[in-house]
């Protein structure tokens, strides 16, 4: 885990196999945590082996992700957030863990996208596209433990 200077505009990250990648997305808003994992997933390309989150994660969420090997969801979520931010669709992404009072053993990682300046009916349509895209990119074992939520900013 690395703490970043909030004025830093780009992220450089040292990849364990000795290359350095520069991620071309601006660091915005209040955050303090950068989490990086290397992971292998045959369904994704070799360039996608790095999971980066510039979204603040609570320790509970971090533990949940690690315990269930949900790094691909982190990566895919950040990728979609980045694109939606460029399109001015979202103001941000949060990761949360939903617990179920009726089934305490049942927990899900929830990717919550905040949508800016849209009517709820429009948000519901965007939600369809985002859900389909994210789940299509995730291995089924990860997808089972992940849900996507869009809320009005």
């Amino acid at each position: 885990m690395t703490t970043l200077d909030q004025t830093q505009s780009y992220i450089d990250y040292y990849v364990p196999d000795s290359s350095v990648l520069s991620f071309d997305f601006p660091v915005q808003g209040p955050f303090s945590t950068l989490l990086v994992w290397s992971w292998k997933e045959p369904a994704l390309t070799s360039m996608d082996r790095l999971a980066v989150s510039v979204t603040p994660l609570s320790s509970g969420v971090q533990n949940f992700i690690e315990r269930n090997a949900l790094w691909p969801a982190l990566y895919v979520g950040e990728m979609i957030r980045d694109r939606m931010t460029k399109n001015h669709t979202t103001t941000g992404l949060q990761f949360a863990v939903d617990t179920d009072a009726e089934s305490p053993e049942r927990e899900d990682l929830v990717l919550v996208f905040s949508i800016l300046g849209k009517e709820y009916s429009e948000i519901l349509n965007i939600w369809n596209e985002v859900s389909r895209e994210i789940h299509s990119k995730l291995p089924s074992t990860v997808s089972e433990k992940v849900s996507v939520r869009l809320v009005k900013a």
Partner: protein, 120 residues
């Protein structure tokens, strides 16, 4: 007498609000009926044979979402999950008020879900 149509739970949710009025107990009850309308309509789309594969540790709500994801309808699963969470808040979390905007959002979400489920 035919099988009960769970869509009528959604109609009941709307009737509760329009006839009884704008009270938090009505909002909480209406959210519950709206969720069960969507959940039961989605459950009716689960092929009978699929229930054999339901893990013993899982509940019906999760399993319906799981089947929707498996059958290329993750948007239905995600929206059901959100409405389920709203319903649980309405049923269990008393210190947090449920407001009219909460209800309106839940009803819109439920209506959208019912439309999506109809297309499955």
């Amino acid at each position: 007498m035919g099988s009960f149509d769970p869509y009528s739970f959604f109609e009941l949710a709307q009737i509760l609000v329009s006839k009884i009025g704008e009270e938090e107990r009505v909002y909480r009850t209406a959210i519950g009926r709206a969720y069960y309308a969507a959940h039961l309509c989605a459950r009716a789309k689960v092929p009978a044979g699929a229930w054999v594969g339901m893990p013993k540790t899982s509940d019906e709500h999760w399993f319906v979402r799981h089947v929707m994801k498996k059958n290329s309808h993750p948007e239905i699963a995600d929206k059901l999950q959100t409405l389920h969470q709203i319903r649980k808040n309405a049923d269990y979390i008393m210190p947090t008020p449920i407001t009219k905007p909460d209800l309106e959002g839940a009803l819109q979400l439920a209506q959208d879900l019912l439309n999506l489920i109809k297309g499955v």
